[in-house]
Amino acid sequence: METTKITKSSSSIEWGKIFRSYGTVIAGVIITIIFSVLNPDSFATLDNAINISRQISFLVIIGIGATIVMSVSEFDLSIGAIASLGGVIAAKIAASGGPIWIAFLAPVLVALVVGFINGWIVTQFRVLSFITTLAMSTILGGFTFWLTGGATIFENIPDSFRLVGQKSLLGIPLLSIVMLLITILFWYVMTQTAFGRRLYAIGGNESASRIAGLRVKWNKNAAFALGAALAALTGVLMASRLGSAHPTAGNGLFLQAYAAAYLGMTSFKEGVPNIWGTFVGAAIIGILANGLTIMQVPTFMQDVITGLIVIAAVIMQKFGRGSR
């Protein structure tokens, strides 16, 4: 009896469900169409599409980092500072003549440790992750400033360090390829592995996860570490792209990363932070920035529009949930 009732009700809200699950994607498509119609010559070109894919690569990668931490119902406000620090460490190593692979790897390892410390403080002392990572952000900002003396590092950076950030393979920027690989990798980790399942379980209900025998603290720490590592990688890629590292280069990405993750929560698995959702969220933000720039909308107005869209998406999602 119950079974039939459930089937009935779910078939009657099928359209609503599709709209709720793919509303953000549909919105992204509509935005793209509008820009294409308004600027057929400059926006709707293959070159511009490739351009956008490169522009969003940083946001996608750091956004995935934010998403992983959000999957265990925590926040990492230090990802921006970690990205800045990561870029600076990489540039320093590259500029001092160190091997390029170390320049890429070292910041990521440092970030793993930083993320683990964040997680450890949060889980061991039951401090709000908000406060912990906010303080960590300040600490890291200080470190970065100390490393750079506040100046941009751009001298003596070898071309080989810029390779990943600036070269393309078969016309596709390496950055875009890295972004896609990371997206697919973490989609896999979060949905196909036991580890990803555990993270979502902990995010869904920590005490039930504990009763089910999960190592809640360890898994949370791992989530923080992974999120931080991806943030550092973002910073390294930015430095590689620009051929320089500024001590606050990554800071601005932090709010956008959460905007992307929240936009993403409205798609595919509604209400749950998910990797492809974050990808779509970052893409929407990137498409908006690109399209509005082409239409010569001033930057401050772009910020206003992006903010409004995030608010609208979150409200939409609340409505979707309410009707359940």
């Binding site: 459930i6 592995t193 399942r197 379980a201 869904g204 209900n205 009763i211 089910a212 999960l214």
Partner: protein
Amino acid sequence: MSLLEVQQLDKKFGLHHALSDISLSIASGEVVGLVGENGAGKSTFIKIITGVYTPDGGRIAWNGQAVTIHSPRDAHRLGIHVIHQERHLIPSFSGYENLYLGLPLPQLKFGLRVKWNQMKERAEAVKKELGIELDLTKTAEEMSPPERTMLELMRVMMQDCKLLILDEPTASLTDQETEVLFRLIERMTDQGTAILYVSHRMEEIFRLSDRIIVFRNGKWAGTLQREEADLKKVISYMTDTDYQGTTAQERTNALHEPVLLEVRNLSTVDGTVRDTSFRVHRGEIVGIFGLAGAGRTELLEAIYGARPIQSGDMAVAGKAQCIASPQQALENGMVLIPEDRRSEGLIMNLTIRENMTLPRLKHFSTGVYVRQRFEKSEVRRFMDHMNVKATSSEQNVSELSGGNQQKVVFAKAMMNNPELFLCDEATQAVDVMTREEIHRLLRQQARDKRGVVYVSSDIHEVLDLCDRIYVLREGTIVAEVPGGEATSEQLLQICYNR
């Protein structure tokens, strides 16, 4: 004329009658004791009188006038206040500030400034009137449990309280502190305040009450005058003499079987479990019965490694074990069916499949990825076995009925192939059919030489199901009775005898 008079009060939750046909009255200056075993409807009654629940039927009269109480605010306006076992204070506020919660603050014109002096004067006056010694400049968190009780009493008295409901007020108090409380209650009744005193502690009820009202299964079971009341009489009202067991339960004597779980002198860090020892043999369903607050849930959690242990030993299947986490408990073949399904049993935003395989993900994982086809077929097998009604294994557990959710909890437990089930209120808020199914399942587990520890606040369920019953009182096991012969009178006698 009575202060409060209720007639034919009725409250249903779904099909279950939490209260039916309750009629009683309370006069000014009177102390009425309200007793009944767990789930007899005392809390529901209090919640109706204080406007938390709306009754489905019946009338409430206040000073002879018919009233409807829609919210706690309405109740306050009439002069009905309640003091719960848990304190409702703001920890970081001072005594003065807490006293004025919900009261209009004396203020200068246009709310420019609170008149602190006036606040203090009035508070001191109430203090004097009640004869309370209490430093009100202290914050609530700096106060001791009895001081907090005093503070709540003062707050109530500042609001022109006509009827005060005390719900297990002495749970956290020592004997001396209780004496202070009792003196206060006397002063209040002298001033004409009526008291409804709800407690499991019979000697307090006998000492304070002018009359004792007994509830049983949501119904009025009797009223005793102070002179005629004694423990035996009260318990005979509380227990259902015409209750018949649902089915003739199979019972086993498995004392000759090997011991599966041995607990010796277990105490928890927080003191909710104290020096408790018991054992479970293979093939047994062992019941643990106790009144609310006796430490039933805490005992199970301590065994399961979910509550820090101070001292004591445990042996599982003859091997001494130190179980410090649920993970270790699971590895040692235990599984916990938690009391609160929604907050501890299931992860509501995940699917049936994801919930069921959570403790066993390693088993389904290749080390890299989860073998979802294998996972799905196993989940389906266990769903069939447990008779879970759902559209598919991919349905969210939040969409299932309470009974089916509980079956998922059991299916999840069964997947671990456990040796020992720790069940905490396993049939709470499930339908009759599911309840029977759960009982059958556990009996089958016992037949297969596994062990079950069964905690329930439903005395009849414990009596029906369990082979042996331990009685838990104030965190420690005080008696052991065989399941087949015990009666509810006997169990309650043990619980109430202090």
